[in-house]
Symmetry: C2
Subunit: 202 residues, 2 copies
């Protein structure tokens, strides 16, 4: 619709997730009105990510060093590993300030239809961490924090089977139930069913 570079930019922005044609247009015209140095900063940030992002050699989350901040922190409990799908899930658990252990990022969830089997995920690395006693400390618990959807549940089931062979290892899964601050009336049947079957005696 527009001519030349502006339309090209709108097209490229429109390919980003969650950016529709209207937002792409809005962002493009915003960028037309800002200082060139501001666009330059965005370009530089894109270029650095394009050049390649480093991942922590232990847990696999994004990192700017060999070991991420969490894995490098001696105060974190090495006996507990929280297994998540993606680096953003690490941040979600960190925000709770409830977890003092370390993480393991799988890089996704089992999804055979999309060609993602156990070998595409960092499952071997997880088993290695448990078998090899990181820094001479035994891992005593693995918390499986994959998403509560079909793929995440399948991954959790698979992991439970793989981890059964380690004697003395506790394997747990995040609780499913009603979200806090939610309304029972509006909960879907699956969530309410989970909340019922997982009820706690008071």
């Amino acid at each position: 619709m527009y001519e030349g570079p502006v339309q090209d930019l709108i097209d490229e922005l429109g390919k980003l997730p969650g950016v529709g044609p209207k937002s792409a247009q809005r962002i493009a015209f915003h960028l037309l009105s800002v200082e060139p140095s501001e666009i330059q900063r965005l370009e530089n940030a894109l270029e650095r990510v394009r050049d390649g992002v480093q991942f922590c050699v232990v847990c696999g989350t994004v990192s700017d060093k060999e070991y991420c901040r969490i894995c490098a922190d001696p105060r974190r409990d090495r006996t507990v590993i929280c297994v998540v799908e993606e680096p953003k899930d690490v941040q979600a658990v960190e925000r709770t300030r409830e977890f003092k252990g370390r993480y393991h990022v799988l890089g996704g969830a089992l999804d055979p239809l999309s060609g993602i089997g156990p070998d595409q995920l960092r499952i071997r690395e997880l088993l290695g961490r448990i078998a090899n006693q990181e820094d001479g400390v035994d891992v005593s618990e693995v918390i499986i924090a994959t998403d509560p959807n079909t793929e995440g549940e399948a991954t959790a089931t698979y992991l439970v089977r793989m981890l059964r062979d380690f004697p003395g290892l506790t394997v747990s899964r995040l609780a499913s139930g009603l979200p806090m601050g939610g309304d029972l009336e509006f909960a879907d049947e699956l969530t309410l069913g989970r909340a019922l079957s997982g009820r706690r005696t008071l």
Copy 2:
């Protein structure tokens, strides 16, 4: 929250209009998973816009040549000028396929509190176009299509005063009223008031 280049990219994306922290994170992780060439294309598009975008010397809309497609088109009616605030408004009017004249982009609307007076808008250029008879053709009508908000209305009022001096020039304003497909019940008082005062005899 994240380390290194990923967080920098999230920060830069979060500065864009309509992109919150969650969307910025989503876009950044999306870009981590795509081909580097795709990021490169976005960078190139940004760079070309940063290098400067050309504006049509006649109407002031974004263009990749001296004259935009509309101003260069001999089939467009040179006797009618539609005055809009921004280039995206040109596209909005074009989408109606109802207007066959040419445009004039003001580059904003009068907003004294933000320091935008008549000299910050392309009003002098508009008066020049009308006074100088583009290509020897008299302009017979100016349609003021500024936004139906405080600034747009003030700009329209100002333009009407400036254009009064041209003999034989019709100055019109887009109709205000109920949006098509809307619901009378949910119209705000201002819109419904405009619809009433602008009612048409059938």
